[in-house]
Amino acid sequence: MLTTKDLRKVYSTGDEALKDVSTRIEGNEIVAMIGPSGAGKSTFIRCINRLVEPTDGEVWLNDKNIVDLSEKELREARRDMGMVFQEFNLVERLTVMENVLSGRLGELSTWRAFRRKFPPEDVQMAYATLDRVGLAGHENDRADELSGGQRQRVGIARAVLQRPKILLADEPTSSLDPETSRAVMDLLTEIAREEGIPVLINIHEVPLALEYTGRIVGLSQGKLVFDGTPAELTEPVMDRIYRAGEQAEASAPDERTSDEREPSAVAEPH
């Protein structure tokens, strides 16, 4: 369903953020991507819908290579990919309803979008989705009047409104407190299951990844260094992902042996 082949991204500063990342996500997997800050998780997920332009490689959504698409085709493809952002990325001054309905902008003529004349089915779906994410009654609130957790739910509702084929979540819980984070993770995984679509979640908090997802992908310094089930995520593996960047540290003596600090070859996907 979603396949990346040798995805590479080099920024204009020379920073090589992604190095030949190849992976594959199937029909209804719930996948978490973990890794330290700066590993390239955000870059990777943004390369999928080309919010960041990849330098090299391919991104296949079913039968289309996203990288090769023209601007118009890209817009169509983006409709199939619902994205949830770390900072919620709502239009603050618009109401909750408008933010949610903006998920349908890809399918609506510009004039009707301007008049805010959405098709009745879409409005119905919006109301239903807001109820589903627990925000019934908040339709007319301005987005900036909501709490962080509520805003993220609006973001999720917006993504759902697109009727996407895949959900992409870029650190959806990083700006939230632990309890709200769990509520958001609950929501994301439930919706993915109910709609029968795969979801890729960038996440910082490894415990959440272990609890909610069936497959974990580890990114370190732009390279894919782990791909397996939560059970396979052992301490040495964690070190490989999180400690690979640190060379000999003068202060606290490290009990692990030296060869476990080097990033090893990419594990074969199951």
Partner: protein
């Protein structure tokens, strides 16, 4: 045993790697010596500047001496205002309001593309950005009166010159503030709307417009308010409105009529200011 003094803590600190051993300064001053000197020089410089300027003006003290008497004289001649005359003001006053409204509307329409071009984050390319900025700076730097002088020469005396003068001056004002608003929008919202597959225009309508709409209305109403004031005076150089009448009455030494005009202007300006403040409050 019981007391810990500064010397003891500093000697312990030398044992820890990476920590500096400094003595605590005994006094605290808000600005260090150099900054204080600069501030003092700055103040001194300002005072010198003012003194020199005053010198340069060559104030005629005999005028200053007679002035209070002249003013008192003048005010005496102005009061009471000529009520009967007020009927004659209505039409010029309406012209003044026309000039302000039409001028502001034209300016708003023309300022939109200019602001779009002059906003770094939405402008299509460097060329349009340069053009936008140039137009903003050029139209802003010339006072409405000067525009009025020029347009009176071109189109003759009358309301047209006034409208164009107000329009041109306002374009730069509105476009500058608007482009600054556009540059400050939250890019994350734009990113998200693009990610849903919306086209460029949708992104503008849903992402940019909601964020600048409130400020845009505020700016436009603010400028309209200022333009009412400016429209009252451009008539002094022939560009239509109450200013023409004012000029005539002053030339005729008809001071009571002048007072009537001044009062009428005061009322109109205060009303427009009230409307403007009200509208800007509502728009949040």
């Amino acid at each position: 045993m019981g007391t810990v003094d500064a010397d003891q803590s500093t000697s312990e600190a030398t044992d820890r790697p990476g920590s500096a051993t400094t003595e605590r300064p005994k006094t605290w001053e808000r600005y260090d010596g150099r900054t204080r000197l600069l501030r003092f020089l700055g103040l001194l410089g300002a005072l010198v500047l003012v003194a020199l300027s005053y010198q340069a003006l060559n104030v005629r003290y005999d005028y200053v001496a007679t002035a209070p008497e002249n003013i008192r004289n003048l005010l005496g001649r102005m009061y009471p205002p000529d009520i009967a005359y007020s009927g004659a003001i209505v039409e010029p006053m309406i012209h003044t309001v026309n000039i302000a409204v039409v001028g502001t509307i034209f300016a708003i329409l023309l300022a939109l593309p200019v602001a779009y071009m002059g906003a770094e984050n939405v402008t299509p390319n460097r060329g349009t950005y340069a053009l936008g900025k140039f137009l903003i700076v050029a139209t802003r730097s010339v006072h409405s009166i000067i525009y009025a002088l020029i347009f009176v020469i071109i189109f003759g005396a009358g309301v047209l010159a006034g409208i164009l003068a107000i329009t041109f001056r306002s374009i730069g004002f509105i476009a500058k503030l608007l482009s600054e608003e556009i540059e400050e929008i939250d890019e994350t919202a734009i990113e998200a709307v693009s990610a849903t597959g919306a086209n460029r225009l949708d992104v503008v309508i849903y992402g940019v417009v909601p964020q600048v709409k409130a400020a845009f209305v505020g700016i436009s109403v603010y400028r309209w308010d200022i333009n009412v004031r400016e429209a009252t005076v451009i008539g002094l150089v022939g560009a239509g409105g109450i200013g023409v009448e004012l000029n005539n009455r002053i030339s005729a030494f008809d001071w009571q009529a002048v007072l009537t005009i001044l009062l009428a202007i005061l009322v109109v300006v205060l009303v427009s200011e009230g409307l403007s403040a009200y509208a800007r409050r509502k728009i949040r």
